[in-house]
């Protein structure tokens, strides 16, 4: 268990460092921080509020599930992660739907590349686990569910982003 915890923490630290470099690569000006204009900042403020409500709601539901001792084929930590992903999904969905899907300094092409690489990296453990038959251990799904949850979120974000981009291109033609 200690080895698993050490690997998990090390993985998180490496990921945090990687994210800094990835963001530097993804932004046109080489900065880590994405720049937003005043309307985008206001919309993001609202999005964070709704994401917070969604996260609180999810945590209460999960707490209730754990308190009642309901037997689910999901490890407790994976269940908690679903709440986090739900909050992230609300944040992304609200931002995209209110035209805040790109920051001022984002390089769209590079972001799409990062999306694809992240999808492959998340799909890999799920596919490998499915092939080896290790997705569910002792009747419960654990770590692979984290990857599945991220994949679901990315799919939802990608579909919404695609629909919104199409709508935006149409609007751009008529408005100009």
């Amino acid at each position: 268990m200690e080895t698993v915890s050490f690997a998990f923490v090390t993985g998180l630290m490496v990921a945090a460092i990687l994210i800094v470099f990835i963001l530097k690569y993804a932004n046109k000006d080489g900065r880590v921080k994405t720049e937003y204009d005043e309307r985008q900042t206001a919309v993001r403020g609202k999005a964070y509020r709704y994401a917070f409500y969604a996260e609180i709601f999810a945590q209460v539901v999960i707490m209730w599930i754990l308190m009642t001792g309901m037997e689910l084929p999901i490890e407790d930590y994976a269940l908690l992660f679903i709440g986090v992903i739900l909050g992230c999904m609300v944040l992304c969905a609200y931002c995209i739907w209110h035209d805040v899907y790109w920051g001022m300094n984002n390089d769209h092409r590079r972001f799409y590349i990062i999306f694809i690489v992240a999808t492959i990296l998340n799909a890999f453990p799920v596919v490998a686990g499915a092939l080896r038959g290790t997705l569910i251990e002792n009747g419960k799904i654990g770590m692979p569910l984290l990857n599945i949850a991220v994949l679901v979120m990315m799919a939802a974000v990608f579909i919404e982003l695609f629909i919104k981009s199409m709508m935006d291109k149409k609007a751009e033609k008529t408005e100009d």
Binding site: E38, R39, D99, E175
Partner: protein, 68 residues
Amino acid sequence: MKNLKLKSARAAYDLSQEELAVKCGVSRQTISAIEKGDYNPSINLCIAICRALGKTLNDIFWEENEQD
């Protein structure tokens, strides 16, 4: 309420929403939202838009009442 003055001033300069957005340092969607009346810009952004279009705040953002 739609900001038709902004749209016509932009059209007079033959600027697209994207081009005006770049001049003002905002996103195209923000210019679109202002023109559609979905977003009330800050005074700083109003000034930036006016400077980009060579207009005054009155020209673009002042709404005349019927009584005036």
